[in-house]
Subunit: 228 residues, 2 copies
DNA sequence: TAGGCATAAATTGTATACAATATGATTTAC
DNA sequence: GTAAATCATATTGTATACAATTTATGCCTA
């Protein structure tokens, strides 16, 4: 199903944001082809800007571009899926630690509002939105830690996590991780850096166990993928 | 001084590679403006491909693009410089550990040849080349560890490291770190994963102490940078 | 002479046109 | 009837043309 919105005069950033949102909320499946004309028509811009947007998304790992064949929503393999969470496990605990040492009252307030939104999304069974907000929560912590470069990496990793979850999530309905987020905020507020680090590590492990990263991925979209 | 090579029919990858090499070897200074038609003329392609190349390099942190103003060789601030090495310290020790568990005899041979080349470059006082090879050595270890995502991040970090070194290196002439690389290869060959991890951690600390990341960066290229 | 304004030149931003490649349908050979 | 080859179509790759913006130049005024 194509995206049903029809804008015009969008900027590259708009296109990236809208497409990213669609992927994050699982409105487009991994493997979906993104034709340049089609995307351009939807957003009311020429292929030039679409190409820029698609290249940007390729660099963030959300899109795969095959020469002369086009752009596709990325489809992480089992191995890549594991690597995403391994990399997050390397970066995020330390980020939580650093964030705890720098958090302001405003930051805490923003995080708590954020968790409110997450709860609301879960209550209303807006799974896609809840997932996106959950990712944003992690990014917000990186922002508080004031580590721009790591934040950029996390941006990529969390984007990819969304794809991984779309492909490998075990029980689609259950999504009840907000307790972990709440505990994290508490540790940040109390400046318990070590505690925050440990909570984050555990939180990521919990996420990982909810994924089915032991068996084979679902079938490929095209036979070509098998023999490439 | 402009790059003096004049090719034609280059691909985007060529342009990225050549420009990256020039930056790595400090043939173009941080802050240098990269005009699109100038680069296009040098490589014999239209602005279309140049733009793609510059955007790619922006994503890898080597180039900064300001809207309507153009592309510049990135000029890491003191804070960014520190963050680069902090991020490397988070990723690389674990990478070395993982590499030690997977290294083959061929890998060891390749690494030893690599160190040979580094020595040769240092002997011939080709500082730029030596620096590039040193970075490649670290990337090679990530490749051996078979961690694609972390390898991608390291690619960015090592690129940026080159800029950092260009700006903040204390003693330009001294470049004698190959002992550390040799010790690392030894640990990898002997499957001493913990040892390799520790050596890498120490190696990165040594690099950091050779940088002058305590004081102010050198003056900006344009006054505009000061007040932006 | 210094500052500001208008104008011209240079440079980047975006759309379009054409070329190259891949995809799919039809034909042809066996 | 199947498989290979051929052609037509669709899609991406690259260059060019034009628009928007910035930067530089010269003129005017105080």
């Amino acid at each position: 199903m194509p995206i049903t919105v029809q804008n015009s005069n969008s900027t590259v950033e708009d296109i990236v944001a809208r497409l990213t949102e669609a992927v994050h909320e699982h409105k487009v499946q991994p493997g979906t082809k993104l034709r340049e004309d089609e995307v351009g028509e939807i957003f009311g811009v020429s292929r030039t800007l679409v190409r820029q947007a698609l290249h940007t998304m390729e660099h963030s790992g959300l899109v795969t571009i095959e020469r002369n064949r086009g752009a596709f929503v990325a489809k992480p393999t089992l191995k890549e899926a594991r690597e995403v969470f391994e990399a997050r496990a390397l970066l995020e605990p330390q980020t939580a630690h650093a964030a705890a040492l720098r958090t302001t009252a405003d930051d805490i307030a923003a995080l708590e509002r954020h968790i409110e939104n997450e709860h609301r999304a879960i209550e209303r069974e807006q799974a896609g939105l809840a997932l996106k907000l959950s990712g944003d929560f992690h990014l917000e912590i990186a922002r508080i830690a004031d580590q721009k470069i790591v934040e950029g990496f996390l941006h990529q990793l969390i984007s990819r996590s969304s794809l991984v979850i779309a492909l490998y999530w075990r029980r689609r309905n259950a999504l009840c991780e907000s307790n972990a987020h709440h505990a994290l905020v508490k540790a940040l507020r109390d400046r318990q850096a070590d505690e925050a680090e440990e909570l984050m590590k555990q939180h990521l492990l919990d996420l990982l166990t909810q994924l089915d990263l032991r068996e084979r991925p679902s079938g490929p979209t095209s036979l070509r993928d098998v023999f490439s």
